[in-house]
Amino acid sequence: MEKKTLDKETLARRLAQLEDELQIEPLIRDNKIEFPHKKSTFRVRKPKVGESLELNQKRAEQKIILLKRGNIQTKKQIIALLEKEGVDLGALEKKMITLQKKHDNLLDKMLKIEDKNVRAKLEQQVLDIRDEKNLLSMEKNDYLEGSLEQQLDAFSNSYLLFLTLEEKIKKGWKRVFGSYEELKNSDNLDLLYKASNYSQVLSYYGI
């Protein structure tokens, strides 16, 4: 499967959110996240082998559909277009690299300082840099919004939900949606948003 990208900060935020609402321990233990919603209990889980294969196939089909439809740009094409408009994403990346170097230098300094107040100040600077980097990363993602890759990721996430979002019924579990079309037409956005966040934590790739 193509690797999804989710930056470290986004993952940490999602994990923190997950921890606020339920325990992360069961998730680590068996790759399933159970959560209450309204009066029912739902779960998302890691897809089985057959489901992963189905997901890959559907993603490939969706790619062809989007390309045939035309009027869609890949990330590379969007970057080239932005360059013509005077937006230099390369400069943004360089800024992120510079920030990372500054961050590492501060960490290096911090360890050798014994004064707790000075340490605390440096710690705050480290956190500020992390926030700044996070903002730059979001800015970069905003520029690339609507790209072929992002649309495919969005499709994969929702298809994965169709495959792995289940509701507890008596002692067993049953898929919430009978078909992907049913999920697409659902107006239960609260449930879908919640489930989507958990599902992405579960299927996160590449730290």
């Binding site: 992360i24 998730l27 340490r119 710690e123 996160y204």
Partner: protein, 107 residues
């Protein structure tokens, strides 16, 4: 934004999970996960943190430079320590490489 520790690291550092990890390494039948194969990415990341914290506890036990309970308790200080260790290992490796080269070429 207020700093929130990474929950995976908090778990991996805990006494409970370090004990489970220790026994699972010694083939005592204790399992870290319910599944033995087909690990998810998050489980792999968790295993990496279990190993990192195992090493950090060892460093604490042998009194490595800059390592202390305070460092272990503070995630940012832990990051600083890990970076320091990484640099130290890199230096040591390049020194060993030079020494080996010297032994071969007599420089």
């Amino acid at each position: 934004m207020a700093f929130k520790p990474n929950p995976i690291r908090t778990l991996a550092k805990s006494n409970k999970w370090q004990t489970i990890y220790y026994h699972s390494r010694n083939s005592s039948g204790v399992k870290v996960f319910e599944n033995n194969s087909d690990l998810s990415e998050i489980q792999i990341i968790f295993l990496q943190w279990l190993e990192i914290y195992r090493n950090l506890y060892q460093d604490l036990a042998i009194g490595e430079e800059f390592m202390s309970k305070e460092v272990l308790e503070n995630e940012i200080l832990t990051d600083a320590y890990l970076l320091h260790k990484q640099k130290k290992n890199k230096k040591r490796k390049s020194k060993t490489k030079k020494t080996r080269k010297g032994l071969v070429f007599g420089t």
